[in-house]
Structure formats: structure tokens, C-alpha cells
């Protein structure tokens, strides 16, 4: 129980995947991974330390171990991750990204986990909301999130065809700000990634999870480099069959999120 967050269960090195690595990374022996800033529980500072823990950093460490590389975790704000990858500052990012065709112009993606979207509402759900009954309600979402760009337009279309008002969305920069808008009664619900919503509900007795849907894969982003993406996909392909993978998922209560197929550049939506 005293294990530090940097400890991930041991995994075997996949020597076939190692052979696929681009020479630069192979010779340096280091995989530089960008992890977004603090967002419990997917990534967060271990209490009182500067060490990142959570599902994303742990998956990154497992990928590194499979490739026989030392993993260097760099914490960066989302705004500076993508330019940083283009700049060659990082090789990969594990940040619960949903792969879309638009984003694939900038990065290559390899699936590593599937998560759903959850709806958080006030305790006891006074408005009896479900994702299908959001028409005309105020819903907080994360800027640029999959829920905002993919789910909401579909629901809106349904509302319109049912002759109901569309959903009133508010876009927040941070899911926490959406949650606090929910607790102060400014909005009726928050629709976001299920791990974050479940964690918030755990911390905050005045809100509850009302609905979870749409379990879809999220992917690790890799700089546009054909060698690197094949190496990472090979590593993930062997990783998802390992015990270590399951142990890590279970540690964060995401056992259902295991994937069986580490697809490359498989666009959602």
C-alpha cells in the first residue's frame, strides 16, 4: 500500500515492437510523453508531490516499459502540448484524446482505453435528466470535448425534430469550473468524460451521476512519424493483453474500459 505512483506493474519488453522504433528514440532510450495538467483522476499530482499519477501517466509508463524505454513525463497545458509535439519537444501524449479525422491531420492516434460520457446532475436529480432529455436545459461542457462537438449536435437535431428547444450549452475551459457552476445552480447538468464526472461526484456529495453512455475509445497521440506510430501500436497491441494493463485499470476503477483492439487512426464520430 506504500507503493509510489511511479510504480506500475511489471510488463515484458516486446522486442518486435522495439525493432520498429525510429533510430533517434531507440538510441536515446527515452520516450518523452506530454501529460496534460492536473485533472483528477485521469492525471493528477500525487498528494503533496510533483509526481504525476493517474490512468494516463500509468499507461504512458506501461507503453514505455513495453518498448524498453525510459519514460520522461512532461506536464504541459493542453495549449502547449500540440505545438510542443510539432516542435519535437515530446514524442507522444497520453491525454484521453478522442481521435477525429480533423485531429489526424496533426497527430497519429493509437487507441488505449475506452471511456464513456457521463451526465452529472444535482443530487437526487430533481429535473430527472437523462442524456436523451436534455432539450432546453442548461448543460456545461468542456471546450472542444467530444461530447460538445459530436454528441450535442446529434441530441440537438433530435430536439429540433421533436419540436423542442435545443440544449443551452456553456463551454468551460476546465471540467471543474463546469462542476462548480452546477453546484451553484447556474447550469442543470455537466456532460463530460465519465472518469472525471465520477470522481467529482465522489468528492462532492451535492452532485450525482445520472447517466453514462457511449463508451468509445480514446487514443494516445503520436507525432506524425510512421515508424513511431507503428512501434507504439505494436507495443499497445501486446500491452492490452497483459495483466499489468488490467491491474492499472482496476486501480482507478476503470476495469470496464479495457480495449481489445489497439486500432491506429480509427476516427470516431
Amino acid at each position: 500500500a506504500t507503493s509510489s505512483a511511479t510504480d506500475v506493474p511489471p510488463v515484458a519488453v516486446d522486442s518486435a515492437a522495439v525493432k520498429l522504433l525510429p533510430p533517434g528514440i531507440a538510441s536515446s532510450g527515452v520516450l518523452r510523453v506530454a501529460i496534460p495538467t492536473n485533472e483528477p483522476p485521469t492525471q493528477y499530482y500525487e498528494d503533496g508531490t510533483q509526481t504525476m499519477t493517474g490512468i494516463n501517466p500509468d499507461i504512458a509508463r506501461l507503453i514505455g516499459a513495453t518498448l524498453g524505454l525510459k519514460v520522461e513525463i512532461d506536464v504541459a497545458n493542453f495549449d502547449s502540448i500540440i505545438p510542443g509535439m510539432a516542435a519535437g519537444r515530446y514524442d507522444m501524449t497520453v491525454s484521453s484524446m478522442t481521435p477525429t479525422t480533423e485531429r489526424m491531420q496533426v497527430l497519429d492516434f493509437v487507441d488505449y482505453l475506452q471511456i464513456g460520457s457521463s451526465l452529472a446532475v444535482a443530487q437526487n436529480n430533481p429535473l430527472a435528466l437523462k442524456v436523451t432529455t436534455l432539450c432546453g436545459h442548461k448543460v456545461g461542457l468542456l471546450t472542444g470535448s467530444y461530447q460538445l462537438t459530436e454528441n450535442i449536435p446529434t441530441y440537438d437535431a433530435a430536439c429540433v425534430s421533436a419540436g423542442q428547444p435545443t440544449i443551452e450549452t456553456s463551454e468551460f475551459q476546465d471540467t471543474r469550473q463546469a462542476i462548480s457552476a452546477l453546484t451553484s445552480g447556474r447550469i442543470d447538468a455537466v456532460f463530460a468524460d465519465s472518469p472525471i464526472v465520477s470522481y467529482a461526484a465522489l468528492q462532492n456529495p451535492s452532485i450525482a451521476v445520472a447517466d453514462t453512455i457511449d463508451v468509445t475509445p480514446v487514443a494516445a497521440g503520436v507525432t506524425k512519424n510512421p515508424q513511431l506510430v507503428t512501434a507504439v501500436s505494436a507495443a499497445l497491441a501486446s500491452l492490452i493483453t497483459s495483466d499489468a494493463y488490467r491491474q492499472v485499470l482496476n486501480k482507478y476503477g476503470l476495469g470496464d474500459g479495457a480495449i481489445t483492439d489497439a486500432r491506429v487512426n480509427f476516427a470516431q464520430g
Binding site: 505545438p83 471546450t143 470535448s145 475551459q173 476546465d174 453546484t183 451553484s184 445552480g185
Partner: protein, 305 residues
């Protein structure tokens, strides 16, 4: 030795010493200038050519509706928040200079508090005030009875919270600026105005404030520019100003640098327009003040002319 006594040509910007004059050369200055010009040109050339900037994406988004509406919101917020900030700041400045110690203390405390806390905190406070005060009650303090005015969430829409936060904060800064402007008005102007029977509001509005303007305008220009950019803080309230609109777009397509360039181009355009009007206002309110003062500002590399 010959002495020149011929009449002098009247095109006099250059020395018209009638002997052949060898103007002073500044080899070091010239070299520095040439280097700087080359560097500037190089940077410009590079920026235009470097494919990392993705000028094609910039061109695609620079007039995107979302960007335009974000820019409009930024301008709108800035205008309203600055207007309130200036008016309220003027009142605070006058209170701080008042003979009434209570006014002085209250205005001083206000400035101390609002300059001392981050705008972000103030914005979040106003936005989430319902968590603290679910209903807004007009009533006696210390738990006395009161009249319920309404739910905080209804009364304080996000945009209201944004305006409240930005303008109350701005008022504190403007108060300091206007106070220093009032202090720069010559004492004799008060005497002259009072000797003519002017007083209170009239003295302030007709004599003191118009003259304070000259000193107040440049730092106010700084404030407006800061406010234009500072409105991006309201994105914590899920309001899409210019910068946040760019962020929303790149959150979806990851074209971060081109979209930041788009936002920067808009900010630069706004700042330029503003500087233009600031220059006009400065000239307008500088009118009637010592021309020599303005002459003295070109220094120190000027030659004794």
C-alpha cells in the same frame, strides 16, 4: 582665415553654414541601425516563409464567424467595463482626495482590496456568488430582516458577473491613475476657479478633470489595451471572447499556432486603432499646454540643433 557673411539660404533643415561642411558621421550608430534593420527584415522574411506558421490555416480562420463574434464580445466587454471603471474610478479618486476621513479610508480600502486580489478570483467569486448567497437580499446586516430581491443566478448572468468583475477591478486601477492626474493640476487653477465662484462639481468637471486628462490619457491607454487582452479571463465563466474563441477552435482541430496568430492579428488591429485615437486625444487635451515641454522630449541622441 575667412569669415562668411553671405546671406543664408532659407531651406534650413540642414546646417546652412556656407563653408563646405562635413556632417558628423556616427559609424557605430549606423552599424547598429543596419544590423537591426537586417535582423528585422530577416525575422519578417522568415515569419512569412516558415511553414510552421501555417499561413493557409490563418487565412482560413481570420474571418471565421466564431472569431468575429469573439472579437465583438471582447470589444463590447472592454467598452462597457472601461466606461464603468472610469466613472467609478473617478468617484473613488475624488473620495481618496476628500477631506472626509471616512471617504478616504473606504476608497483606500477598496483600491487596496481590488488591486490586491486576482481578477480571476473576483470573476469566479461573482459567478459563483450563488454558492455563498443563493438569494440576494436587500436588508439589514448582522442577520437583520430584509427583502428578497431574487436568485443570484438569475440576477447575475455570466455576462453580468464578467462585467462586475472586470469593471470593479478596473475602477481600482483607474482610481490611482485619475488621482495622480488630479494631483498634477496646478494649484493655481483651483484658486483661480474658486475666486470666480466655482466650486465642487463645477470646479472638478470644468477645470480640474479636463486638465488632468493630459496626464491621465497615456496610462488609461495602457489600461484599455490590458483590458482588451484581459477579457480573456472571462473564459472561466464560459464566455467566448476573442482568445477563447480561438482556443475553442483549436481544441477541436489542434491547429494551435495558426489560431493564436489569428487572435494576435485581431488584438494588434484593435490596439492600433486604439493607439491612433489615443494620439488624437493626447493632442486634443495637450492643446494649450506648453509647447516647449513637448519639444524637450526628443532626447538624448539629438544633436544640438
Amino acid at each position: 582665415m575667412t569669415f562668411v557673411n553671405r546671406s543664408v539660404e532659407t531651406d534650413a533643415l540642414t546646417s546652412s553654414q556656407s563653408d563646405p561642411v562635413v556632417p558628423l558621421r556616427h559609424p557605430v550608430r549606423l552599424a547598429i541601425a543596419i544590423v537591426l534593420v537586417i535582423v528585422a527584415a530577416g525575422v519578417a522574411w522568415d515569419v512569412a516563409m516558415n511553414r510552421g506558421y501555417r499561413w493557409d490555416v490563418v487565412a482560413q480562420y481570420v474571418f471565421a464567424p466564431r472569431i468575429i463574434s469573439g472579437a465583438a464580445l471582447t470589444v463590447g466587454l472592454t467598452i462597457v467595463a472601461m466606461a464603468i471603471g472610469i466613472v467609478f474610478g473617478t468617484i473613488l479618486a475624488i473620495m481618496r482626495l476628500s477631506a472626509n476621513p471616512i471617504f478616504r479610508v473606504i476608497a483606500g480600502a477598496y483600491v487596496w482590496f481590488f488591486r490586491g486580489t486576482p481578477v480571476l478570483v473576483q470573476l469566479i467569486f461573482w459567478y459563483n456568488i450563488a454558492a455563498l448567497y443563493p438569494v440576494i437580499v436587500l436588508g439589514l446586516p448582522f442577520g437583520g430582516p430584509g427583502i428578497v430581491i431574487g436568485s443570484a443566478n438569475v440576477l447575475i448572468a455570466p455576462i453580468t458577473a464578467a462585467l462586475l468583475g472586470l469593471s470593479l477591478n478596473e475602477a481600482a486601477y483607474m482610481a490611482e491613475i485619475i488621482r495622480s492626474g488630479i494631483g498634477a493640476v496646478d494649484r493655481g487653477q483651483y484658486d483661480a476657479a474658486r475666486a470666480l465662484g466655482m466650486n465642487g462639481r463645477l470646479l472638478m468637471s470644468r477645470i480640474v478633470l479636463p486638465q488632468a486628462m493630459r496626464v491621465v490619457i497615456p496610462p488609461t491607454g495602457n489600461e484599455i489595451i490590458s483590458m482588451l487582452k484581459g477579457t480573456s479571463l472571462v473564459s472561466v465563466l464560459a464566455i467566448s471572447d476573442l482568445l477563447y474563441s480561438a482556443q475553442i477552435i483549436y481544441a477541436a482541430n489542434y491547429q494551435i499556432i495558426p489560431l493564436l496568430i489569428v487572435a494576435s492579428l485581431w488584438y494588434l488591429a484593435m490596439t492600433s486603432v486604439l493607439s491612433f485615437f489615443q494620439g488624437k486625444l493626447e493632442r486634443r487635451y495637450g492643446r494649450g499646454f506648453d509647447v516647449r515641454t513637448s519639444r524637450s522630449r526628443r532626447w538624448p541622441l539629438r544633436k544640438a540643433s
